[in-house]
Symmetry: C2
Subunit: 168 residues, 2 copies
């Protein structure tokens, strides 16, 4: 037996499981963002994490709407992937005392989380269309666009400011 | 204390840790690819996984060269992120008996792993340049290009063939 409470028999089962996986993941991300906001030193990085927190709240709302459109109750399911990603992120934070270096590490950790979201939303959008939920696909497309923009913003911030300071 | 055996004090420490993280991750991915090859039914998917296995072997070699260029011994470090991603991938495989549906789930799982590699190599390339290891950046750029191509190939395969069959 794997992690799921029942066997996945149809595309709809698989799709619903993926939705529950990201619903749980977003909630864990929301919690961890508070810690990242607290740890970040660079003002623009703090601002970027705060903006991402606001986006994450909207993204959770959007997932709620997606469940509703599908006639399902919003529910999370265990997601070892996000648990592992966040565990790694927390370890970095706890092992670095230099503030500039910590900023660089926090960006890397946040981008790993972004990429998890990018891949999961990408899959969900494709599967939404496959099972005929165009409305859900449209909704999640907004989230995917936000995730990609957040990832790009963090890359720019790292390259323009944070990494040079961390390497000093 | 976090996961690292010693505190990370410099950009070079952080960078080396990231290199050790992906070195461990690639080895775990290599192992899991055998299982994915065995589970996949669609002939093109099996072919894509086999190609990715060959790429992964080259990528591990490239990481070995990167360690050498830096005057370090190739070494892995614990990586809860990849452990979580692969745990989730294995759970999917064990909970689906329908072969076409399993192919769709395997693609999603493989793409989540690809995205972890994409984000880590992206960070490593930027950090390589920051610490003045242009040669390592160049080497890892080849790998990043391969990872992005593999991710794109899986998306195309899902959309062109696998998902429609899974939804039947």
């Amino acid at each position: 037996m794997g992690l799921f409470s029942k066997e996945i028999k149809t595309m709809e089962d698989l799709y619903l499981h993926a939705l529950q996986d990201i619903y749980y993941a977003e909630q864990q991300i929301l919690r961890s963002l508070d810690e990242m906001i607290e740890k970040a030193t660079n003002r623009e990085l703090t601002k970027a994490f705060k903006a991402h927190k606001a986006h994450t709240e909207n993204q959770i709302d959007r997932l709620g709407q997606a469940f509703e459109l599908l006639g399902e109750k919003p529910k999370g399911t265990s997601c070892p992937a996000i648990d592992g990603l966040l565990k790694e992120a927390k370890s970095v934070a706890s092992d670095i005392s230099d503030k500039a270096l910590l900023d660089a590490a926090l960006i890397a950790a946040a981008q790993a989380v972004e990429h998890y979201e990018i891949t999961r939303y990408g899959t969900l959008i494709t599967w939404s269309r496959q099972i005929g939920s165009g409305a859900v696909a449209k909704l999640l497309q907004i989230t995917l666009k936000e995730e990609k923009a957040a990832d790009k913003r963090l890359s720019e911030l790292a390259q323009a400011k944070v990494n040079a300071k961390a390497a000093k």
